[in-house]
Each structure stands twice: as C-alpha cells, then as structure tokens.
C-alpha cells in the first residue's frame, strides 16, 4: 500500500506581527541590553571597590611607614630642635631686654670739655647721673648739649655746690641728671 507523502517546500508564512508581538520583541531586545548594562554596572562597582580597597591598603601602609619614620624624628631629633628653638627665643628676649650704654657714655664724654677734672658717670636703667667738678661755663655747656641731644628726654642740674673761694673762680661741684630716651639693646640680626 502506497502512502502519499506530502512535502511542503513552501516557506512558512507567518501571520503579520501584532502590536503586542512587536512590543514583546522590543522589550526582549531592550531587556537584554538593560540586564547587560546592570551586570556591567555591578562588575564596574565591584572592580572599583577592589581598586579603592587596594589603594586604601597601600595608603595605610604608607601612613604607617611615614608615622614610623616620624616617630624616630619625634623621639630622637625633635627634642633637640625644640631645645634650640626655646633657647634661641629665650636668648633673643634676654638680649633685647639687655641694656646698652656705650653710645650714651661716648656721647657724654664727647661733651666733657676738661677731662682732667673729677668726673663720675653713673648709669642705671634709664637714668644717668654725672658728678663732676668743673667751671660753671663748662657745666652749662654740658647741660645745653645734653638737652639738645635726642638721646636724653630730660636733663637737669640736681646739685650745684660752690664754696666761697670757688665762687670767685666760678668753679664748683655739680650733679647733672639725665633720663635716657632709649637704653635697650638693638635686636639681634
């Protein structure tokens, strides 16, 4: 008995896609991309995390190493620097608070006309006293010059004593007192 075999060699004809068929195809295509992007995001986030973790570990090691190195300086060297710094600061303060009379004395002696007579110069803080024995014109000249000098803020004759025979000679003992405008040292350079 023969059987007829039927072969359909025609290309199957699909019904035209409906709206939902097209929507389905579109969603399927997009969904793949979205899932792929999501997976890529996850991979990126984890890779980034691994990178920052590795960096963090490296930085922690660097911090530890720096701290160890600084520990040496803090313990061994810094006390030396600080000692020198403190000492230096203290030294500068002491220096600046120190007195300076050289210029004042030089100036006073430059005004003294007759160095051969009795003369005592005392200096303490901002006060200078000159005790001398000289003729009155020299004393007056000394007083005038001291008053004219910017080194002194006030100058006055504290004592002037003349004995009888000294009156005739216009000679006597005097004490001139002057206040210094500045008697501290110049700061160190």
């Amino acid at each position: 008995m023969e059987t007829n075999r039927i072969f359909n060699l025609l290309k199957p004809v699909q019904p035209p896609p409906t709206f939902w068929d097209k929507t389905y195809d579109w969603i399927l295509g997009k969904a793949r991309i979205v899932i792929l992007v999501t997976e890529l995001l996850i991979v990126f986030a984890f890779v980034a995390k691994v990178i920052v973790d590795t960096q963090a570990r490296a930085k922690d090691e660097q911090i530890t190493s720096l701290k160890n190195e600084l520990g040496f300086y803090s313990a061994q060297r810094e006390p030396l620097f600080r000692d020198v710094q403190k000492r230096d600061s203290a030294y500068q303060r002491l220096w600046t608070n120190g007195t300076s009379y050289t210029e004042v004395l030089n100036e006073i002696y430059s005004y003294v006309q007759n160095p051969g007579v009795q003369l005592t110069v005392n200096a303490e803080k901002n006060r200078v006293s000159i005790l001398g024995y000289d003729d009155l014109s020299s004393v007056q000249s000394l007083e005038t010059q001291l008053k004219a000098s910017p080194t002194f803020t006030s100058v006055f004759v504290d004592t002037l004593s003349l004995e009888q025979k000294e009156i005739l000679q216009s000679t006597g003992q005097y004490v001139l007192v002057a206040t210094l405008s500045e008697y501290k040292r110049e700061p160190l350079k």
Binding site: Y24, Y91, Y101
Partner: protein, 213 residues
C-alpha cells in the same frame, strides 16, 4: 488547593501564550532583576566604593601632612647636623650651668684686650630684682657679677662696649666710671689708668627641663 496552582508549568505556558503577557512578564522580570541587583549589588558596592574613596581622600590629606612634616623634620635634622659647630657655640654662649669660670675668663680677656686691669670680680648667686620683675620662663636663670677695672677712659668705654656685645650675654644693671682723684693719682693709683669702672652685671644660663616635664 485550587486547580490553577497545581500545575505551575501549565499555568506559566498559559501566561506566556500571548505576546501581551510575554511582554508584561519579560518587563516585570527585567524590573525585578534591576531592583534586586540594585539592592544586593550596585547600591552596596557603590556606597562602599564612594565611602572608601572619601576615606582615601582623607588618607591622602593625612599622607600629605605627614610627608610635609617628615620633609620639614628631615630638613631641620640636616640643618641641625650641618650646623653642629654653631649649636655647640650657642650652648657655650647660653649654657646649661652658670659656668662662672667662663665669665671670669671672658671678663679677664675683655679687660686685657683693652689694656686695662681687672682689679676685682665678685659673684652673687641671687638674681637681680630687675631680672625677677621680667617674669622669664622657669628655665632661664640668672646670677650677678660685679667687676672693678682700672684703665684709661677710652679703654673702659671699650670694655663697656665689649661687654654689651659679648655673645655670652652680660647685661649691665648699673655702672659707674670714676676719674680717680688727683691725690690718688699722685700716689701712684694711675698705674693702669686714670679711671675706674665699677659694673654690676647679670649673666644667664638655661636649665634643661626635667625628663617627663
């Protein structure tokens, strides 16, 4: 149990039998996938990544500070080592102890250099009132020294100048320069000069703080 739950495969096939349902299903699965992945993967990883990144920025700032400090310490250390002579000299000029012998030597040198004669030198361990008034820090200590020197007027003025310029700081508290009386000079008091300098000075030292202070 209702019939529709008994055979999930059949139910699923029914659900996915139309393109509309398949669209809903794929859309829903995609959304669920994104939500789940966001919750369990992306958001924790991203927040952890950003947190670590912020921490790394802080670490970078710390490293920068430590590096600057280390560079400064190294530079200071190098400078300190290269200026050992200067440091040693500074410690001589501002010593840890009163070192009265160095004061004697210094004043003797100054008077000799200026062709004068150091007649007397007296030490007083107590600080001068003017020093106490200054309220210096505790480590700074002071003692007093008085000198009497004979010489010419110019040489005594030079002594005062040298004392004031001495790096081993000597602070003149008070001074007097007297011209000797003619009677005294006639009796030979002017051997070293016509003038006498009396100076009251203070000198300083810096005591090291106690360990642990």
């Amino acid at each position: 149990m209702p019939q529709r739950y008994r055979n999930p495969n059949k139910r699923l096939n029914e659900l996915l039998s139309t393109a509309q349902n398949k669209s809903y299903f794929v859309g829903a699965v995609t959304v669920v996938f994104i939500v789940v992945m966001s919750i369990v993967g992306i958001i924790p990883a991203y927040s952890s990544f950003t947190f670590q990144n912020e921490e790394n920025t802080k670490r970078d700032q710390l490293i920068a500070k430590l590096t600057t400090k280390l560079t400064t310490s190294q530079a200071l250390s190098k400078q300190y080592d290269s200026k050992q002579d200067l440091v040693a000299y500074f410690k001589i000029t501002f010593p840890d102890l009163p070192n009265q012998q160095s004061i004697i030597t210094l004043l003797d040198d100054i008077t000799q250099t200026n062709n004068s004669h150091l007649q007397k030198i007296t030490f007083n361990k107590n600080p001068a009132p003017v020093f106490v008034q200054q309220n210096y820090e505790e480590q700074i200590k002071s003692q007093q020294v008085n000198i009497t020197a004979d010489g010419s007027q110019s040489s005594l003025l030079s002594i005062v100048r040298d004392i004031e310029n001495s790096r081993r700081t000597l602070n003149i508290i008070s001074l007097s320069i007297d011209r000797k009386s003619q009677d005294a000079l006639d009796q030979g008091a002017g051997l070293y000069g016509d003038y006498t300098l009396n100076a009251q000075m203070e000198y300083y030292f810096y005591t090291k703080p106690l360990i642990g202070e």
